[in-house]
């Protein structure tokens, strides 16, 4: 599976409170959550994001609360993959469980810039920055995790 899109870039320790503030947690409807995704650190994100776009951030992405609403909001906003130097562990687990692709790659996370056009090949783990022409190697997911992502989440993969 391959995805390609424009990059939205963030720094270290992007926490789940800024991904989706708790004031919106009275719903779990993906499209309603997506309307407020990232708004406390990037008021332009919701306006600028297009389907297939890629989010790139640095260390400890998704730290804080265990709210699954955070990866749900990112996925529903149209983001096809999140690349970071490292992920907070609950977010990492939640993202895979709901079928949001994530990849750890420190070099890519540091070098890729906002608005670059980037493609990701999940079978090989190769990340290509089409704007700069540079490629990066991330650890690809084993087939059972790829299956979860393709089916749209853990429980979907068990029932479909």
């Amino acid at each position: 599976m391959k995805v390609q899109g424009k990059v939205h870039k963030y720094g270290n320790n992007v926490d789940t409170d800024v991904i989706i503030p708790a004031r919106y947690l009275n719903t779990s409807e993906p499209s309603a959550l997506a309307e407020h995704c990232m708004e406390d650190i990037d008021t332009e994100f919701v306006k600028n994001v297009s389907k297939g776009d890629i989010m790139v951030a640095e260390r400890n992405f998704g730290c804080g609360s265990s709210r699954e609403h955070a990866p749900i909001a990112i996925k529903a906003s149209g983001i096809s993959c999140v690349i970071a130097s490292s992920f907070a562990r609950i977010f990492y687990r939640n993202a895979l469980n709901i079928g949001l692709s994530i990849l750890e790659c420190e070099e890519a996370a540091k070098e890729i810039k906002a608005n670059d056009e980037v493609s990701v090949d999940f079978d090989t783990g190769v990340i290509t920055d089409i704007t700069t022409g540079k490629t990066y190697q991330a650890e690809p997911f084993p087939p059972f995790i790829q299956n979860i992502i393709e089916k749209g989440g853990l429980l979907n993969s068990l029932t479909k």
Partner: protein, 421 residues
Amino acid sequence: MGMTMTQKILADHAGLKEVKAGQLINAKLDIVHGNDVTSPVAINEFNRCKAENVFDKSRITLIMDHFTPNKDIKSAENCKQVREFAKKFNIDNYYDVGQMGIEHALLPEQGLVVPGDTVIGADSHTCTYGALGAFSTGVGSTDMAAGMISGMAWFKVPSALKIVLKGKLQENVSGKDVILHLIGKIGVDGALYRSLEFTGEGVHALSMDDRLCIANMAIECGAKNGIFPVDDVTLEYVNGRAKREYKVYEADADAEYDEVIEIDLSALRPTVAFPHLPENTKTIDEIKPNEVKIDQVVIGSCTNGRMEDMEAAAKILKGKKVNKDVRTIIIPATQQIYLQCIEKGIIKIFIEAGAVVSTPTCGPCLGGHMGILAKGERAVATTNRNFVGRMGHPESEVYLSSPAVAAASAVAGYIADPAKI
């Protein structure tokens, strides 16, 4: 090669003699827990895969504590959904307004989690129960749903940081200062994917409330869990409460740790985490009087809403008035703590000081309700996170502290040393 305390609990729950860091295991769960924010998402997943029943109605805990008493129609609908689910499957431990308390204060208090347990909870502060010598960790709603169905969860066995505690805390220094100090030292991802194992002679001088507070914030340095050895203090707390048999695990003498960090408890000072990360710590001696003027104080939460926290705040507020410019909100974490506060005259002290006392709720900690900050406002809070917008407007600020520092700051109108109030 020996195992850490966490590894021994996980091995036992996976039916294995031995596990190693990095190994993937499937472990049996003693408790699967959720609250009013995370359970509705889990129940939707549960229903979507057409599950017919829960694995064990006595081992699921559902606590309506975040947006309760319900703050709006949507949160009322969420609680209704969980209430109906609890009724349908006859869940033993469903706690609603009137019985509920803040989840991570309530479950230990009610003896629903016990030493040696393996617990997952769809709330990041589920790591609190490590104070009892249990393995407990926060997960998302999908893992909660799978746990409710199967009674199992997969884990990657963590490696550990060994935190050796020495000495004894000084007056006005508490468990909160210990954990803020540690997070300040290793950073918000300093223990990412790993366990924090607290050990050393200093552990015995820490009360259960201090240990619960310390384990509670293990997640704030990225840890998978934080765990304490079981000693006389633990057993005194557990005996008479435990609803199930418990099991005491100990780390092997030759257990391997990634790193050993020593903390001299007697050298710690009241510590405050500045915006917008729990790692931005300063001791009270590094903060000048009048340097950080505040608009609100919150004393409560799963981190610091327990009886000793109420007593620490009351000791400072007794016979004093809070600053007229500081809205002071105090939230005993459970009904039992609330009642004890009434019986001991503590609520009277709070109200006479000009504070407001609320029914148990997570409300203000996560910017849900009951104390939201406006643009540019600052709060000192005994809660656990000070991220951008955590308690309200994205341009508001949260300073994390102990109940003693929060109460002293409420009186002073700025972040203040409890010894100087």
